[in-house]
């Protein structure tokens, strides 16, 4: 029972960052109809900006996190302006291939700049974990959970309570009508891609200190983001948030009770199960995608 409680606690910590990853990806897919193959690379970039900000710039851990998020926001905006804006209206395959190309450039660029050796990010938290009755959690992981939940909340506020969010939701429903109502759709696309990218970077910056930072870390993160998004239904933000926690739970229990070597395979098993039983995702309205 104690072991199970510990798994649940780990699920919460991991699930928060997975939800961030998933929300970013599903936002971009839902609004722009772009399968973002730079998502993993942006996750990596977020972790490396965090690393640089803490070690080389000496910004301090808590100032480094917003720096990494801002870095993701900026890089996302640049990617959209340079690559996606000229391709607006092109078919999905074309943008997918361009995004794969951009992902390769970013990933091998990181490898070239920083080398393949894994780096660890120093944190200001004490090494001794916090004891909560029979279970324990490190202060760092607790902070990661808090930051992830805060970012998810901020994102909800942005989408549901601001004019920008209103314009984004309008574009999501029908970009032609939104455009006729005076929404600057081009700007909304750029903002969407930048925000989605910043969430990926935030996830990388939060999980980077928990694990280690290396150039290929984004590959698996991207795959997990895909699984989360399929689980929640493509384009469904609440679905992605819940999907993040479900994937984390599946991984924790899979690693704990089946085999730790297959932890990363859980996402795929979830994709198979969803496609067999409920292809539109667990939380989708009755509409067919694809």
């Amino acid at each position: 029972m104690t072991e199970f409680l510990q798994h649940l606690l780990n699920t919460l910590v991991l699930g928060g960052t997975y939800a961030l990853l998933g929300i970013g990806l599903t936002l971009i897919f839902g609004i722009m109809n772009v399968v973002n193959f730079t998502h993993g690379a942006l996750y990596t970039v977020g972790a490396y900006v965090m690393y640089l900000a803490v070690t080389a710039l000496g910004l301090g851990f808590f100032a480094a996190l917003p720096t990494a998020i801002l870095g993701g926001l900026l890089l996302g905006a640049i990617l959209d302006l340079v690559l996606l804006r000229p391709l607006r209206g092109a078919d999905m395959d074309t943008t997918m291939l361009v995004m794969i190309g951009a992902g390769i450039v970013l990933q091998s660029g990181t490898l070239w700049l920083f080398g393949g050796v894994a780096k660890s990010i120093p944190t200001p938290f004490p090494d001794a974990p916090l004891q909560l009755g029979p279970v324990s959690v490190s202060w760092l992981r607790l902070f990661v959970l808090g930051a992830a939940l805060a970012l998810i909340g901020l994102n909800y506020w942005l989408i549901n309570r601001t004019r920008l969010g209103l314009a984004m939701r309008a574009t999501f429903q029908d970009h032609d009508t939104a455009s006729l109502m005076g929404v600057n759709v081009r700007l909304i696309y750029t903002a969407t891609f930048a925000i989605g990218s910043s969430l990926a970077a935030a996830a990388g910056a939060l999980l980077g200190p928990v694990y280690v930072v290396f150039p290929q870390m984004g590959g698996m993160a991207e795959l997990k983001a895909f699984a989360i998004v399929i689980l929640g239904g493509l384009g469904n933000i609440t679905g992605a948030a819940i999907g993040g926690f479900i994937l984390a739970l599946a991984e924790e229990l899979g690693a704990g009770y089946i085999s730790s070597g297959y932890r990363d395979a859980m996402g795929f098993l979830i994709i198979i199960a969803v496609l067999i039983f409920k292809p539109t995702g667990l939380f989708a309205k009755a509409e067919r995608i694809g």
Partner: protein, 345 residues
């Protein structure tokens, strides 16, 4: 026959190439691995080019083919759940090749049935995840695959020639011609398929699905069949790879190889017969040309940039671009001549 003239000319040139290179083992090795990946790229083109479905896990079929073929010829002894033990004595590599083709065809069927219920982005994601899980299995099922320690000592192919006894393909020269023969057979098979009723069904689905459905084309069955043939061909390429290199590890499942195949297909010209071959030769041999001037990371950046630039500058790829130039030259001043059937998008 004139339709296939460029392909026949290319075949003749490739057959003569080793002599022109003066048996340079380094270049010959690059040509063999390029040829093997090109066969996989041709199989990817069957899906991506002719049905429009992007399989980003194609390396899974390649790797499964390699492992099935290697394990068949090496033998294994594994214990499954509930004490069930399977002991397999080594069989000849040629049988491994056959089993690799069958096994990957089965995998293609499964993946196709599963993901063609919902297509587009779903198919892409399912294929990537499939490849990743297969890699995890190869890495973790150490009893069967030796995990990261790699399967070593894989025997080379032996071909029994009637009346001449059997020949074991040990030299690079022999393997080069083996790859060339298998590649030519795959090319011919795809050429026949594309012109068949099945090929027209595939193209119909890609151009206008609702129209194709309305004339009675079974979408799921057509796409699944395409996935089966494509997977089997990639499995054949994987088998060639295993018996040529004679050592394989879970790195054969790396996503980057799938990306290389995609660049070959898209760069050469997806949906054309010659495109993947031309793209395969260019992008397979590009690292050889770049090696003296840059580190591998920078080479990959070049590949990424090339993939982006192609989409902007030459979205149809090199072969259709050249075909259009050629037809324009033959019809000076007049309306652009009709493009060859396979060069149409």
């Amino acid at each position: 026959m004139t339709r296939h003239l460029p392909a026949l000319a290319l075949l003749a040139a490739l057959a003569a190439l080793p002599f022109a290179l003066g048996h340079n083992p380094y270049l010959l090795n690059a040509l063999i691995t390029t040829g093997i990946v090109t066969i996989a790229a041709m199989s990817l083109n069957l899906l991506l080019g002719f049905t429009g479905q992007l399989s980003l896990g194609h390396i899974a079929f390649f790797g499964i083919g390699a492992y099935v073929s290697a394990l068949t010829s090496l033998g294994f002894d594994v214990e499954l759940l509930w004490g069930l033990r399977i002991v397999h004595e080594p069989w000849p590599p040629v049988v491994g090749f056959g089993l690799a083709v069958l096994a990957t065809a089965g995998c293609g069927y499964l993946v196709g049935r599963l993901s063609f219920r919902v297509r587009g982005a779903y198919f892409v994601i399912v294929t990537i995840s499939f490849a990743e899980v297969v890699r995890l299995v190869a890495l973790n099922w150490v009893e069967l695959t030796q995990g990261p320690l790699a399967l070593t000592g894989i025997p080379p192919f032996s071909l029994g020639l009637p009346g001449l006894g059997s020949v074991t393909l040990r030299t690079k020269m022999q393997n080069y011609y083996l790859v060339l023969v298998v590649g030519t057979l795959c090319y011919a098979l795809i050429a026949l398929l594309v012109r068949s009723r099945f090929g027209r069904a595939m193209r119909g689905l890609k151009e206008n699905e609702s129209l194709a459905l309305s004339v009675g084309i079974n979408a799921t069955r057509t796409l699944t069949l395409a996935a089966v043939i494509s997977a089997a061909m990639a499995g054949a390429a994987g088998s060639l790879y295993a018996h040529y290199l004679r050592i394989i590890d879970p790195d054969v499942f790396l996503f980057s190889t799938t990306v290389t195949m995609v660049i070959m297909v898209v760069g050469g010209g997806k949906g054309t017969l010659l495109g993947p071959v031309v793209g395969g030769l260019i992008f397979g041999l590009l690292p050889v040309a770049l090696r003296p001037v840059m580190v591998p990371e920078a080479q990959w950046m070049v590949f990424g940039v090339v993939l982006i630039v192609i989409q902007f500058v030459m979205p149809r790829g090199i072969v259709p671009g050249l075909a259009r130039l050629a037809t324009r030259r033959h019809a000076p001043g007049g309306a652009p001549a009709r493009m060859p059937a396979e060069a149409r998008p």
